[in-house]
Structure formats: C-alpha cells, structure tokens
C-alpha cells in the first residue's frame, strides 16, 4: 500500500480512468457555465484545484477528529473557507477575470466533485494519498474544462486564447458559445468516449 507506484497511480487515475467529468459526470455546473473560452476554463480549473487540494489536505488531517454525524457540514464549512480565500484572491489579483467568472467562483462550494472526493476519499486515507488523489482529480477536471473551453471558443468565436485562428471569412458558430452549445458539446464528447469504449469491447469480444 505504501509503495511509490501506488501513489502515482492514485494521481493518474483522476486524469483518465476516473476522470471526474468524462467518466463520473461530476461537477457539471461550473463545467458548462464557464467554458465558453479557454482562459475562463483554465482560471476555473486552477481555482477548483486550489480548493480541492486545500480541503482534501485539511479533511484528511482532521479525519479522526470529525464526528461522523456532522461530517458533511464540517466538510462544507472547510470547503467554503477555501472558496472564500480563492474568491477574495482572484478579486484582488484580476478584477476583470473575477467579473467574467461572476458568481461561479463562489459556486465552487457546491461543486459535487469536491464534496464527493472528501466523502469518498480524503476522509478515509492518509494525507499523502489524499493529496495525490486531489491533485489527480484537479488535473483531470482542469483538462476536461480546457478541452471543452477551447473547442467552444474555437467554434463559437473563431479564436484561441483570444487570438483569431481563421481568416476574416470565418462565420462564428455562435450557438457553441451560448448555453445550448455547452450541453451539446459535452453530449458529443461523452458520445465520443462511449464510442471508444464500444470499439474496445468490440475488439476484445
């Protein structure tokens, strides 16, 4: 249980095998709401990573102290504290970004991914493993956010990180940057994953 390989496995599983968005379909609200440009998606990913890693550390540290019946409330208060820190820091460092992401920074509190990891992992494992798990999940989440954000920005605005990709004849596919585009895009991404799974099964069967 304590070998180095195990630690890296805990980290890696969040990125692909148990990717929070593509496989577990968690944390979709921020996922869809802020992914209309790549920059927003990355900012959201970083903020979520900070909260997830911070609260996983604290929960894992306190896991023997927290009483079972009130554990969920305790986790939420811990998470809310970290989100408040993140909210105020982003406001201080980059007011423009803060305006862009709006209430969705505060809404990290109710991201089911974070609470889910506390309940399912951090409350049962040592600090080292919890940190590895949280880091893996954060990277996986940020990766998914970035994929969706970049695709929607390219299709919806014809830009990538704000710089135009196509010539001036490009007609932006506006719907992709609007709310329905988020649902549709994620639907197609999940479809793609299902397709890969089916192909794999088809080969082995």
């Amino acid at each position: 249980m304590s070998s180095q390989k195990n630690l890296s496995e805990e980290f890696l599983k969040g990125i692909w095998k148990e990717n929070p968005v593509f496989i577990q379909v968690l944390g979709m609200c921020p996922m869809l709401a802020v992914t209309n440009t790549a920059v927003n998606a990355i900012a959201m990913g970083v903020a979520t990573a900070f909260v997830l890693i911070g609260s996983s550390f604290l929960v894992s540290l306190l896991r023997k102290v927290i009483a079972k019946p009130v554990r969920i409330s305790t986790y939420i208060v811990i998470i809310a504290t970290f989100v408040t820190v993140a909210d105020y820091s982003i406001e201080a460092f980059s007011p423009a970004l803060h305006r862009e992401l709006g209430a969705f920074i505060a809404l990290i509190v109710v991201n089911c991914l974070i609470l889910g990891r506390q309940e399912a992992y951090a409350s049962k494992n040592t600090i080292r493993y919890s940190l590895a798990d949280a880091a893996g999940m954060s990277v996986g989440f940020a990766f998914a956010l970035f994929c969706l954000g970049a695709t929607r920005e390219i299709l919806g605005f014809g830009t990538f990180f704000g710089s135009p990709l196509f010539g001036e004849h490009f007609e932006p596919w506006v719907i992709m940057a609007l709310p329905p585009g988020g649902f549709l895009m994620l639907g197609f991404v999940l479809l793609f994953f299902n397709w890969i799974e089916q192909r794999k099964k088809g080969v082995t069967a």
Binding site: V83, A106, V109, V110, F183, L191
Partner: protein
C-alpha cells in the same frame, strides 16, 4: 408591480436557472427519469429556495454588514439546515417518496441553484418581497425544466436508441435542445 412580474418571468423562463445558467444539473440529470418524482423534487427545491431567500435577506441586513467574509459560509449553513429539515419532514410524511428521491434529497444542499439564488439576490439588492418572487420564479423554472426533461426521458425509454448513445450522452443532447428552445423566450423582453 410590473417590476415583480418581470423578476418572476425572467427567473422562470428567460434566464431559466437550469437551462440558461447551468445550475442544479446534478438533480437535473439524476432525478429526471420519472415525471412524478421530478415534480416533487422540484417542489422541495422551491420550498428550500423560499426559506433560503428569507434567510438571505435577514443575513444581508443584519449580519453581513459587520462581517462580509462570512457570506458564503453563513449562506451554506442556512441551506444545509433547511435541507436537513425538509428531509426529516418528507421522511416522516412519505417514506416512499423519501426512498424514490434517495441521495438527491440531501444533495439539494449542493444544488448550486440555491446558493446562486442567495448570492444573486444579495448582489442585486432585492427587497424581501422581490427576493421571495425571485425564489418562486427560479424554483418554478427549475421544476419546469426538471419535469420537461423527465417527460422527454420517459418517452425516450420506449424508443430504440443505439447502445452507444444511451445514458448521459443522450440526456446531454436532449438538454441542449431544450435549452435551445428556451432561448426563444429571450424575445419576450426585447421590445
């Protein structure tokens, strides 16, 4: 008066919490397999929203001016306790419904629509009445979206769908089309 109507319709249809702001998606995909359960979960959510709205008005008037950094924490604690209360009531009154809702009842706590409601209400400086109307509209909108989705999915159960598309992928695409349809309401206020 027209102001109140505007807030209500806007939260109900035009800026529908679920289909426009992407809030409350976990129950939206999780509990939308049967219309009857979906409607009841919607009603429970409306109730929690109204209590939260009252509490948020109270908190922003009396407490938060002294300690603005407690905003998130105090809101979430209010929501968590209200949900706990609703859970106990439903468990007592209708054990069947309690089982049907399963994990999604306590998860109303982490329904982002409710926290978003409290935060929006605070940032827009709504009065007590405006806040209540806003909560009613938003909760109603959530319920409508949930019921529509459940209706579509009940129909979908009967049709032949390729294996690959079944499940979340199909639900996402249905939700996308619903959201597209709701965008039509944006025209209500343009003129």
């Amino acid at each position: 008066m027209s102001d109140l109507a505007w807030i209500f319709i806007s939260a109900l249809l035009v800026n529908n919490f679920t289909l426009y702001y992407f809030l409350g998606l976990c129950p939206f995909f999780g509990v939308s397999s049967k219309v009857s359960v979906a409607v009841r979960l919607g009603l429970a959510t409306i109730f929690v929203m109204i209590i939260t709205s009252l509490a948020a008005t109270f908190l922003t008037t009396f407490i938060l001016p002294h300690a603005p950094y407690l905003k998130l924490i105090s809101f979430i604690i209010v929501i968590a306790s209200t949900v706990q209360f609703v859970e106990m009531v439903i468990k007592k009154l209708s054990p069947t419904l309690f089982r049907a809702m399963g994990i999604f009842l306590p998860l109303i706590t982490t329904n982002c629509a409710i926290l978003f409601l409290a935060l929006t209400q605070t940032s827009k400086d709504y009065t007590l009445v405006q806040g209540l109307v806003f909560a009613l509209g938003a909760g109603g909108g959530f319920t409508i979206a949930l019921a529509l989705m459940a209706g579509l999915r009940e129909e979908g159960e009967l049709s032949k769908v390729p294996n690959m598309v079944k499940g979340t992928a199909l639900n996402m695409i249905i939700a996308g089309l619903l959201s597209l349809a709701f965008m039509g309401f944006a025209g209500l206020f343009s003129s």
